[in-house]
Amino acid sequence: MAGNFEKKVSEQMDDFKIRPSEAVWQKVEAQLRKDKRRRWFFFILPLAALLLGGMGYGIYKWGKTNGEPSLPVVSSNANNQTTQTPAVKSNELVNENKQQSNNDDTLSTLLIPLSIEKEKKSPAEGESVLVDKKQNGIVLNKQYIGKKNPPAEKQKSNSASLALIPKPDAIDKSKPIPDNSVGTNPVIISAEEKQAKPKEKAAVPNNLNDNKVKAQEKNDSPGLINENTLSKKTKAHKEAEVQADTIPQPKKSTADNAPSKKWKIYLNAGAGISGITGERIMPVNNSTSGSITGGPAPQGFIYPPESRINMGPGFHFGFLLKKPVDQQTKFVTGLNYAYAGTVRTIGNSAADTLQISLLNYRDISYSNSYLANGSDKYKTHYQFIELPLLVEHTVGKKQNWGYYAGIAPSVLIASNALIYDNRRGRYYQSNEVYRNFNLQIKAGMFFNPKQNKQLHWGPQLSYGLLNNFNQSVPKQRLFTLGLQLQWRLNK
């Protein structure tokens, strides 16, 4: 203070008080309540969404059922006589020869799709490849495949143990063959499986086996078994199973399984939090990171370090185009608008205009700078247009989740980010110092809730590889972490 005058003024002013109106506190309280709500929305909601998403996925995976469509079983003996057993589930093995399969334990029932079976090497002795035909819902010509040559006599006897269907020649060819006859999954049962004690056998109605034994007793030689000899129950059972059969779903060939090569269009949107990683500009005297300007510091005065940059909201929206490369992999591109926000503390604004020389020897002038010390919050935003170039990979049989990664060249379309000049203790804004082109790394996961192929959602991380500024200091990179939703528009 200069002297007594200042002291007197100061002492008098210290005792000065004025009572504010009630409205002031009400407005302060309202603003604080608004701040609380905002904090919850921007920070708690994305975390809750991530947690719920993880739980939902975990529950979905845990509740996944095992089960495959039922397939009919048809067998034939080594003499190419076709037999048929009632349709059974593909993962159940027919206990056809329970009573007769005591000795040979080398063979087991194989359930092999026709398409794969057709690719097998030519059958060795005792083995045969099934040629599958289906007529009137009955699968014909399924043959046993065995690892060993079945004993002739046993083979002979075993063939009669199965219910046989008429040979193809005997079938009424005027009746149309169902469309799903081609590519039907055959159930290939080894010829010796009748003799072998099966390792895994599904239960077959006992009456069926009994009836087979009865049929065998009546007909010692292989050949047709007169269906009339079968009990009504067996017949009904057989018919029911054939009807209920899951007339087996034709297994698509490899060619059929190839994904459509059409581009799929998705709308996408995401929200989360953004932040900055990197260095802060320190005071001049012990500066380790230099300054935007190379000018001298004011003598005897050290300005504070650059203030911390706190996280803020981030969001993006746009569209994606996905093109399948193979069954599980897709190439993804598109166009997005992205917004990333941060918050920092600065001082009062200063109205003067100053000239500075940047480190690359360009001169710029800036006005509306902010002082170093203070408690004002400055909300920074970066707005980009991005071109994502990603590879997406789905995982699992049902392909209901996956992950993606790639890059996204981006163009900065607007920003109000501040640069700190530690030699003058000012924050200022200048378009000259922003890097206009950047390269983002993107990675994330996606889930299909309930195999809804139209809607994907999942977490995503985006990180800028290049410095936000085109100067050597400070080196600051932007990242965004949040949740993304994708909605498919076309089939």
Partner: protein, 185 residues
């Protein structure tokens, strides 16, 4: 630390604690804001913004000085920001190069009441008013004032002298004017 528990409760967001803190300092802070502005409505606006900043940044208070001094600093910064943003103050905030008013007494006796002195200070042009408040009343150095206002130290010094002399002139005039007497009887 006198208000430690109160500060903790305010940081937690307890409304009752925030109200208590507000009641403790509102009257003296409004007086601070009043000295920087030209109307009580503007002063209350500054007070409202200032207290919102106080509660938002209370976690940053390090107990290195008195809480009142910390709040007062926030109020002053808020007032200066307010003055810069408000259009009607912007002309007055530009600094004038008027010649110094000659004063007969460098340290005159102040016979004004507190409010009268405050009102006299408020009658100064905004630029003078702000610098006078910052240096004479708040005790900031001219270097610090230069930082806060975005001006040079020398500008702050010269503007302060002009403000001081102008105020002293008014005080001397007030001191020399005959007082109205109340007659009794």
């Amino acid at each position: 630390m006198q208000h430690r528990q109160l500060i903790k409760d305010c940081i937690k967001g307890k409304t009752a604690a925030q109200k208590e803190l507000y009641d403790l300092f509102a009257e003296s802070m409004l007086a601070v804001c009043y000295r920087y502005t030209k109307s009580i409505a503007d002063a209350e606006d500054v007070l409202q913004d200032g207290f919102v900043k106080v509660f938002r940044n209370l976690s940053a208070y390090r107990e290195e000085g008195e809480l009142g001094a910390w709040i007062r600093r926030i109020m002053v910064n808020t007032a200066i920001n307010f003055l810069k943003k408000k259009r009607e103050y912007q002309y007055d905030m530009s600094f004038l190069n008027e010649p110094l008013h000659p004063v007969s007494e460098d340290n005159p006796e102040i016979k004004l009441r507190t409010k009268e002195l405050a009102d006299l200070i408020r009658q100064l042009p905004s630029g003078y008013q702000t610098i006078f408040n910052l240096h004479a009343v708040e005790g900031f150095t001219h270097v610090e004032i230069g930082q806060m206002m975005g001006i040079n130290e020398s500008t702050s010094r010269s503007q302060y002298m002009r403000a001081r002399n102008l105020l002293i002139t008014w005080i001397e005039k007030y001191n020399s004017e005959p007082k109205t007497s109340s007659y009794g009887g």
